[in-house]
Amino acid sequence: MNLLLSAAASDNLLLQAVNIFIKYKSLFWYGVKITLLISLTGTVIGLLVGLVVGGLRAMEIEPRDPAPVKLFKKLWAVLSTIYVEFFRGTPMIVQAVFMYYGLKPMLHWEPIPAAIFIISINTGSYMAEIIRAGIQSVDKGQIEAARSIGMTSIQTMRYVVMPQAIKNSFPSIGNEFVVNIKDSSVLNAISVTELYFQSNSIAGSIFKFKETFLVTCFIYLILTFTTTRILYYIEKRLRMPRSSFPASQTVNEVNHL
């Protein structure tokens, strides 16, 4: 009897969830768009921040560097450590509230640009470490070879080390995007109208939290699942032995012995 009741109740829950989704799908859809907007731009900008911070962090001080370069590298090491430790060591929700209200008198910003800024700078701190680890995983011989033909340390970084570092750390970079899709939900704390905020508004207006958030669960799952599939696909493409030949080649065939 109990079993029947609970089965009926769960039937009911699913049915109600479907109804809520149909009725409020434009509100959910709006939330999805904001969630994807802030998490994608935040991840991309965060990656750029990470490339600069992590890239410079990984450049060792060489005995022949001129004094100003040495000083810059030392200063950068200290500042980037503070940055990375602060943003990895405090919750994003706290950073969001602190920076949104803290900088509001100066920047007069809206929640969405603030959200993108916060996700970017937060993700940047993780990306910096991911990139640094990626750089350290590149074989030292690659660097020696580049230096031995006369490349500067910046050229070596740009043309030889960085492309390999990014490829090596692609899984971790992609993972940051998935994390951001989920964790951008904490930005409801500064009234960003992303998926969690929208769900909360819908649930609050009809007093059906369980049913509404079941819908929300599914939407997040679809977003992250789709994203991971796309990332796996790209990762596989990166790993494949490359054999595409540019049109302007001088030979037509690669003859494998």
Partner: protein, 244 residues
């Protein structure tokens, strides 16, 4: 004979280990010098000092009468004039064979794309790797990689080419291919310094053999002298193990 490289009183230690202890050495134009000696004798370190992959503790390295250890020297310019071929090939794994040979020409020497590509293809043809121009290093065998690495170094038009045990990481079958390329270069008059354990190459190809032991040059001379009539007991001992 004009000396390209003159090394005076070169010293280098790693921590408490003295790897080079007072090395004097010079290289003339068109010379093919082989550096031989047991592992840890300092020959690779000496080679790496010449293009400043290692910075010596004291002494002088004169390149065309100019001491490259002075602070005012443009290290990158010097390195582009002194090519290096490594034991582990070190081809840029993110680039095709062709791009490996072009990147230095484009970014270091400032050549245009067309002439860089032409030169790269010329040298790849020379080492027999032109068919693989659009392959990636991962798709090549060790011997093929090393031939590409030689082409990459040649594309920079170096005055001296340094070889750091170029055949030590190769299967015996592939050693011949690489040595053949090096022989061709030697016959064409390229100045080369080769650290090697290939005594056949040292005997047949080099113009001068330098034997190093424990961070100093023990003996040097033409191969006929070193291999048939070595003067120093340490040289005799070393060679007897190789030549039986």
């Amino acid at each position: 004979m004009e000396n390209i490289i003159t090394i005076k009183n070169l010293k280098k230690s790693f921590g408490s280990l003295d790897v080079l202890r007072d090395v004097q050495f010079s290289v003339g134009k068109n010379e093919v010098i082989t550096l031989i000696g047991s592992s840890g004798s300092g020959k690779s370190t000496l080679l790496r000092c010449i293009n400043l992959l290692e910075v010596p503790d004291s002494g002088e390295i004169l390149f065309h009468e100019q001491n490259i250890l002075e602070g005012s020297i443009d290290v990158n310019k010097h390195r582009s004039a002194v090519g290096m071929v490594f034991q582990s090939f070190n081809l840029f794994s993110n680039m095709t064979v062709l791009n490996n040979c072009m990147i230095g020409q484009l970014k270091v020497l400032g050549r245009d794309k067309e002439s860089s590509q032409k030169k790269a293809m010329d040298f790849l043809t020379k080492v027999g790797m032109d068919k693989f121009a659009h392959s990636y290093p991962d798709q090549l065998s060790g011997g093929q990689k090393q031939r590409v690495a030689i082409a990459r170094a040649l594309c920079m038009d170096p005055e001296v080419l340094l070889f750091d045990e170029p055949t030590s990481a190769l299967d015996p079958e592939m050693v011949g291919d690489v040595l053949d390329v090096m022989k061709t270069l030697a016959n064409e008059g390229l100045t080369m310094i080769v650290v090697t354990h290939e005594m056949g190459f040292a005997r047949d190809v080099s113009t001068r053999v330098v034997f190093m032991d424990k961070g100093v040059i023990v003996e040097e001379g033409p191969p006929s002298q070193i291999f048939t009539n070595p003067q120093q007991p340490r040289t005799k001992e070393f060679l007897s193990r190789y030549l039986g």
